[in-house]
C-alpha cells in the first residue's frame, strides 16, 4: 500500500510539471503587464522605476529561466506578490484555502450524510413509492444547476426566513471569526452544492446497491443465515462502495469548479472568489497560484480516489 501511494505520488509529478508550464505560458501570453498596471503614472522617473521592477521581478530573463525561478520560488512557498491586494500571495491563499476546505468538507458531509442513506433506503425498498418519489426528485435536483438552487436557497433562507446569511465567509458580532461563525456561513453554499451532489449520490448508491444485490455472493450471505440488515451493511454496501469512492475522489477535484461559481454567488471568500477577483483585476501572480492549486486538488482527488479504491477493493490492492 505504501509503495502504491508513493508510486502514484511520483506519477503526479510530470502532470504537475505540465500544468505549471501551461499555466505559466498562459499567464505570460496574457495582455497587460502587471507592472504597468500597478504603477502610478504620475511617478517621476517612471521608466527607471519600471526597469527596476522588471529587474527585481526577473522579467528581463529568458522565458525558461523565468519559469525556473518561478518554480523554485513556488516550491519554497514564495508565491509572489499580489498587485491588487498588495500582499504576498501565500498570505491570501491561506485563509481562502481554509474557507474553501471548510465549505468542501461541510458540503461533502451533507452530501454523504443524506445522499447515501437515501440511496440505501431506496435500494432496500426498490420500486416502492418512496423509491419512485426519491428517484424523480433526485433526477430533477440533479438537473437543476446548483447556482439556481443557491439562488432559491438564498431567497428562502436568507431573504424570507432570514436564518442564514446570504453571503460572506464570516459574520459580525461576538462570534465573528470563530469556527461556529465560519460553519454558519458555509452552510448555505454547502447546502447548494450538497443538494445537487446528493442527487448524484442517491442515484449512484441505489444503482450500485441494486447491482450488488443481484450478485451471487449476496445470495450466499443470505444463505448463511445473516439478517437482511447485516447482509446490506456488511456484504452489499462494502461492494457498492467501490464505485462510490471513485465518485468521491472525483468530487474533490470537481469541487474546485463548483466552488468558483458558488463562491462568486455567495461572495464567499474562498479560493474561487479569490480567483474571480484576481481574474477581474488581472492579478496574475494570484491566478497562477490558484490555478496550480486547483489542479493539485484534481490530482489529489484522483489519488485519493485510487487509494480509497484500493482500500475498499482488495482485488486492486494486490495487483
Amino acid at each position: 500500500m505504501g509503495t502504491y501511494i508513493v508510486r502514484r505520488l511520483l506519477g503526479m509529478i510530470p502532470m504537475l510539471f505540465a500544468i505549471t508550464v501551461f499555466t505559466f505560458l498562459m499567464m505570460h501570453a496574457a495582455p497587460g503587464n502587471a507592472i504597468d498596471a500597478m504603477i502610478n503614472p504620475s511617478i517621476r522617473d517612471i521608466e527607471q522605476l519600471k526597469e527596476h521592477l522588471r529587474e527585481i521581478n526577473g522579467l528581463n530573463d529568458p522565458l525558461w529561466l523565468q519559469y525556473v525561478h518561478w518554480l523554485e520560488h513556488f516550491v519554497v512557498g514564495n508565491w509572489g506578490f499580489s498587485f491588487n491586494f498588495h500582499e504576498p500571495v501565500i498570505d491570501l491563499i491561506g485563509p481562502a484555502l481554509a474557507n474553501t476546505l471548510l465549505l468542501a468538507v461541510v458540503a461533502e458531509v451533507l452530501t454523504l450524510l443524506f445522499g447515501i442513506p437515501i440511496g440505501l433506503y431506496q435500494a432496500r425498498h426498490p420500486y416502492s413509492k418512496f423509491d419512485y418519489t426519491a428517484s424523480t426528485i433526485s433526477f430533477v435536483l440533479y438537473s437543476v444547476p446548483y447556482y439556481i438552487l443557491a439562488l432559491l436557497l438564498i431567497y428562502v433562507f436568507a431573504i424570507n426566513l432570514q436564518i442564514f446569511p446570504a453571503q460572506g465567509a464570516t459574520g459580525t458580532g461576538p462570534l465573528a471569526g470563530t469556527f461556529i461563525d465560519h460553519l454558519y456561513h458555509a452552510l448555505l453554499p454547502a447546502l447548494s452544492i450538497a443538494i445537487a451532489n446528493m442527487a448524484v449520490y442517491t442515484r449512484y448508491t441505489r444503482g450500485a446497491m441494486l447491482e450488488v444485490i443481484r450478485k451471487d455472493f449476496t445470495r450466499t450471505a443470505y444463505a448463511k443465515g445473516l439478517s437482511e440488515g447485516r447482509v446490506f451493511t456488511k456484504h452489499v454496501f462494502r461492494n457498492a462502495m467501490i464505485p462510490l469512492v471513485t465518485q468521491f475522489g472525483f468530487d474533490i477535484g470537481s469541487f474546485a469548479g463548483g466552488a468558483i461559481i458558488l463562491e462568486g454567488l455567495f461572495q464567499y471568500q474562498g479560493m474561487g472568489y479569490l480567483t474571480i477577483t484576481s481574474v477581474n483585476n488581472r492579478d496574475y501572480t494570484v491566478i497562477m497560484a490558484t490555478t496550480v492549486l486547483f489542479a493539485v486538488c484534481v490530482l489529489l482527488g484522483n489519488l485519493i480516489a485510487d487509494i480509497l479504491y484500493a482500500v475498499v477493493d482488495p482485488r486492486i490492492r494486490y495487483n
Binding site: F22, G253, F294
Partner: protein, 308 residues
C-alpha cells in the same frame, strides 16, 4: 480468427447494406429505438417542451416586438405592465424580450458547443481508439492533462485574457476545454469496435482509415454517442449559464439566461422583483431538465437492458 471468413466473403459490407435497404419487414435497430423512445412519456413530454423553448427563441421577434438590447433610460426598472409583461431591467430593456432572445445564446452554446466538441472528440478519440499504441498514448496523456485542469477556471482565465464578448469565441473556448471527457468515452467505444469482424474485414479490403472510422465505426456507436452528446449539451448549457452568472459568459447587452440572472442577484431584486430572475432561472432549469429526460429516454431506447 476472423481472417478466414473475411477472405471467403470479400465484400461483407454490401450485402449488409442491401439487406438494410430491403429489410423493411424486420425493423431496423434505430427504428426500434425510436419506437421505444416514443413510448417513454417523460422523454416525449420533455421533447415537446424543449421544442417549444427552442421555437420561442428562434421566433422571438415574432412573439415580442420589444428589443432585447434596446436601452430605454426613460423606462428603467419598471414592474410588469401591458407594454412590458415582465417589466424592464436597469437599462430599461424589456425582460420578456431578453428571456426569449436569451435562449438563443444558451441553446447555441449547447448545440454548437456540443457539435464542435463532438468533432474534436471524434477525431482524437477515433484516432486513439482506432490506432491504439502511441497515438492512443499521446491522446490519452493529453486527455489526462486536460482532465486535471479545472475546466471552468481555464475558461474564465481564457475569457479574461481574450477580453472579448464574442459568442463564437466563447463556444470555441468551451469546446476546446471541455473535450476530454467525450474523447475518452469515444476512444473506449472505438477500442471495443476495433476488433469487430466487420471492421477487420473492411481493413482487409483496404478501406481508408477515415472511411472505416466514419462509415463503419461511427454508425455503430451512434446510440451511446447520441445519449452522451445529449447529456453533454445539457452540461454545456449549464456551464454557459454558470459562467454568465459570475460575469464570464455571454456579455451584455447580448442577452443570455445566465447574464439576465447575473443582473438580478442582489437582495432587493430577488426579494421584490421575482419577474426578473424566476423566468431565466426557470428556463435554464427546465431546458436542462428536459434535455436530461430526453437523454435518459434515448439511453433506455438504445439500450433496453439498461435499468435505472
Amino acid at each position: 480468427m476472423s481472417m478466414a471468413p473475411a477472405m471467403q466473403q470479400p465484400s461483407p459490407v454490401a450485402p449488409e447494406a442491401e439487406q438494410a435497404n430491403k429489410g423493411r419487414v424486420s425493423k431496423s435497430p434505430t427504428r426500434l429505438a425510436l419506437e421505444r423512445f416514443l413510448h417513454n412519456r417523460a422523454a416525449v413530454a420533455s421533447l415537446i417542451i424543449l421544442l417549444l423553448i427552442i421555437l420561442s427563441a428562434v421566433f422571438a421577434p415574432f412573439i415580442t416586438h420589444a428589443s432585447p438590447t434596446l436601452q430605454d433610460l426613460a423606462n428603467t426598472d419598471s414592474p410588469p405592465s401591458a407594454l412590458h409583461p415582465l417589466g424592464t431591467d436597469s437599462n430599461g430593456t424589456d425582460y420578456f424580450a431578453r428571456d426569449l432572445w436569451g435562449g438563443r445564446a444558451d441553446l447555441l452554446v449547447g448545440f454548437l458547443g456540443t457539435a464542435s466538441l463532438l468533432i474534436i472528440s471524434l477525431v482524437l478519440g477515433g484516432l486513439a481508439g482506432y490506432y491504439g499504441k502511441w497515438v492512443d498514448a499521446v491522446v490519452m496523456r493529453l486527455v489526462d492533462f486536460m482532465m486535471n485542469f479545472p475546466t471552468l477556471l481555464l475558461i474564465i482565465v481564457l475569457m479574461a485574457i481574450l477580453n472579448t464578448s464574442s459568442l463564437w469565441l466563447l463556444i470555441l473556448v468551451i469546446a476546446l476545454t471541455a473535450w476530454p471527457g467525450m474523447t475518452r468515452f469515444i476512444r473506449g467505444l472505438f477500442l471495443n469496435l476495433r476488433e469487430a469482424d466487420y471492421v477487420l474485414s473492411a481493413k482487409m479490403v483496404g478501406a481508408s482509415t477515415w472511411r472505416i472510422i466514419f462509415k463503419h465505426m461511427v454508425p455503430n456507436i451512434m446510440g451511446p454517442l447520441v445519449v452522451n452528446a445529449t447529456l453533454t449539451m445539457a452540461n454545456l448549457i449549464a456551464l454557459e449559464a454558470a459562467l454568465a452568472v459570475i460575469g464570464f459568459g455571454v456579455q451584455p447587452p447580448q442577452p443570455s439566461w445566465g447574464n439576465i440572472l447575473n443582473g438580478a442577484q442582489d437582495i432587493f431584486t430577488l426579494q421584490f422583483k421575482p419577474w426578473a430572475w424566476i423566468p431565466p432561472a426557470g428556463l435554464i432549469s427546465l431546458t436542462i431538465l428536459c434535455i436530461n429526460f430526453i437523454g435518459d429516454g434515448l439511453r433506455d431506447a438504445f439500450d433496453p437492458s439498461f435499468e435505472r
